[in-house]
Amino acid sequence: MEKNQVVLRHVTKRFTTRTMGTVTAVDDFNLEIKEGECFSFLGPSGCGKTTTLRMIAGFEDLSEGEIELCGRPVSIKSKNLYIPPEERDLGMVFQAFAVWPHMNIFDNVAFPLKIRKTPKREIEARVKEALKHCSLDGLEKLYPSELSGGQQQRIALARAIVTNPKVMLLDEPLSNLDPKLRETMRFEIKELQRQFGFTIIFVTHDQSEAMAISDRMMVCDMGKIMQIDTPENLYRKPNSRFVHNFLGESTFINVVLKDGKVFPKGDNSQAIDIEIPAGAEKEMVIATRPNAIKLTKNSGFMTHIEKRIFLTDKTEYLVQVGEQLVKIQTPHRVVFAPGETCGIEITSPGWYPPEDKETEAERARRQRF
């Protein structure tokens, strides 16, 4: 059985501000992250992901709950137990790199070892090893300002792995890099994990980045955990409209149920051929993805192409479904002309109740904070 490497029990964090009153930034988080797992915290800004990470690192105090790292309790609020960051044996990489500009690369990477009074010869060997793993060998004598953003982030990585920590915290490590570099670095991080076997907690607001890197991930919103699962399960079977929308481009169709059939809102003449789940109410929203809808010549729900937009890697069609325009994406090779008749086929969509205004208001309030 795999060990749990990071455990959060009832972790809660409340902030009190002058303008907003008390805000619960992290509300009763319970998590078990397994050894060697790559686990992402994903959510929009203000969802509590960064605060949670900082509590794990020991930079923030808990309001309630307890945190355990590698079987050792590091924060227990009820017992007033708190272990400072330097004694938690973590590796951490920050968004802004946080490499020390007054030290050369060797000294940056050697710092954690020097602080631990490691023998000089061992320091040299381990720094060399760490630099090699991060493809920085030969650059020991250079200063961070002489390097590019990607290389600076590699220094931060090397500095984090040099002490061989069991748990690695990555706080939006790629968002200051350009998109192309992001992809390479993502791969390199996974590669390092494969070799060193540490557990990763990866914080990001970028859903595709999280899906690409994680074994499992947690989607949170407004201080609450919404869903925890593998990327594919989350994408294919989101448990809420929020998760559905947050994990990628979504197509929502408002529908009305009548006589056991599904009609798009505003058009009772033609039904959409899908199964109705148990417990569906009269008005619902069906959710799918633009590339999950099949565009056909003459089968399915018959309509016409309202608009065609070419994107660089696909073609986007807007088709009229009831009173709504529905977005469909296909490869360039599927060609329909604007105005042309077409059919659409939707398979196993998600079903959600219509929009929730209260949640939206709370989100707006938090975003101001």
Binding site: S208, M211, P231, N291, T312, D313
Partner: protein, 355 residues
């Protein structure tokens, strides 16, 4: 309303030639996107048009009026060219209110006061900024400032507006909204818009016609979005407009094969004009897996990105990018290391590049 004509325009910074005998016609009342990689000279061309750079040769016409001609020794200063400009960094004057910003060009053109007022209100209405007339730019968001800049350009000229990367500084969602709005405004007013950008996605969404410049500042293709996407004129356009894979095909004993390797045959049709070697370009999502295909490959890396899987496939030593929709049948079953058969849909063919 007026079109724009560049005839044999050249420009150089010192010894560095940026444009050489560049000619382009922008038709009346349409949105033309001038698209090219950064450093290709598109901004230089725009600065020549509005009079901030002086070309070394050629002529520039706005409608039938010559604003620059080397031979006729005409070089109208920017303030009298009658072109509205929207700059990348908005260039909204921070010490004037939104309304004052929009009135300024008309004051300079000495329009009567009540007309200024009327036109300014109309322009602000067009960009949906009427409520913000008394605000200072510092009180507005980036997108709102850009709208003010557009309103200001609208009143400076009802003939021609030039936009230089006007949405680059906005976030993705706002960018999309602004594009729709620019489109709508153009429809309402009918102005000619020359839109300069390096963003393929934006120009595809916006334009009536696109002019694609290559890195050397040469016009590669002029056409509608459909022309560019479905019929790219040359290899530069094909590669610039999206991610691509290229394969080297050669004819061995009468049969086209990959990588000079007679064992891997290409079974599709190749235009007759190519006799011995050809480069084949295929988009990542035009490569599909087919068990029965005799072209075998191994999946080296597969990354799940939500709507699709991005894969790196090893095909006879060549790394090939493949994109599969998450909703393709069995898309989730293919793991790293599996062997697959691949098929190429929709290939394009260009003269083989010298190795």
């Amino acid at each position: 309303m007026a079109g724009i004509r560049f005839i044999n325009v050249s420009f150089a910074y010192g010894d560095k030639k940026i444009l050489e005998n560049f000619s382009l016609d922008v038709e009346d009342s349409q949105i033309m996107c001038l698209l090219g990689p950064s450093g290709c000279g598109k901004t230089t061309l725009m600065r020549c048009l509005i009079g901030l750079n002086k070309p070394s040769t050629g002529e520039i016409y706005v409608g039938d009026r010559c604003v620059f001609s080397k031979d006729k020794r005409i070089n109208i200063p920017p303030e009298r060219r009658g072109i509205g400009v929207v700059f990348q960094d908005y260039a909204v004057w921070p010490h004037m209110t939104v309304f004052e910003n929009v009135c300024y060009p008309m004051k300079k053109h000495k329009l009567p006061k009540d007309e200024i007022e009327k036109k300014a209100r109309y322009a602000l209405e067009q960009v949906r900024m009427s409520d913000y007339a008394p605000y200072l730019p510092s009180q507005l968001s980036g997108g709102q400032q850009q709208r003010v800049a557009i309103a200001r350009a609208l009143v400076s000229s009802d003939e021609v507006i030039v936009m230089d990367e006007p949405i680059t500084n906005l976030d993705a969602k706002l960018r999309e909204e602004m594009l729709l709005e620019i489109r709508q405004i153009q429809k309402n007013i009918g102005t000619t818009i020359l839109y300069i950008t390096h963003d393929q996605e934006a120009s595809l969404q916006l334009c009536d016609k696109m002019a694609i410049m290559d890195s050397e500042g040469v016009l590669s293709q002029l056409g509608t979005d459909e022309d560019i996407i479905l019929r790219p004129a040359n290899r530069f356009v094909f590669e610039f407009i999206g991610v691509s894979n290229f394969f080297k095909l050669s004819k061995k004993s009468g049969v086209w094969c990959f990588h000079d390797n007679e064992n891997i045959k290409f079974d599709g049709a190749i235009p007759d004009e190519y006799s011995s070697v050809v480069d084949m370009g295929v988009r990542p999502n035009d490569i599909v897996f087919d068990k029965n295909s005799n072209i075998r490959a191994t999946v080296r890396r597969s990354v799940f990105l939500g709507s699709e899987y991005n894969m790196f496939v090893d095909f006879d030593g060549q790394e090939v990018r493949v994109q599969r929709s998450t909703f393709d049948d069995g898309a989730g079953d293919i793991k790293e290391g599996s062997e697959v058969g691949i098929k190429f849909l929709n290939p394009v063919f260009y003269n083989a590049k010298e190795a």
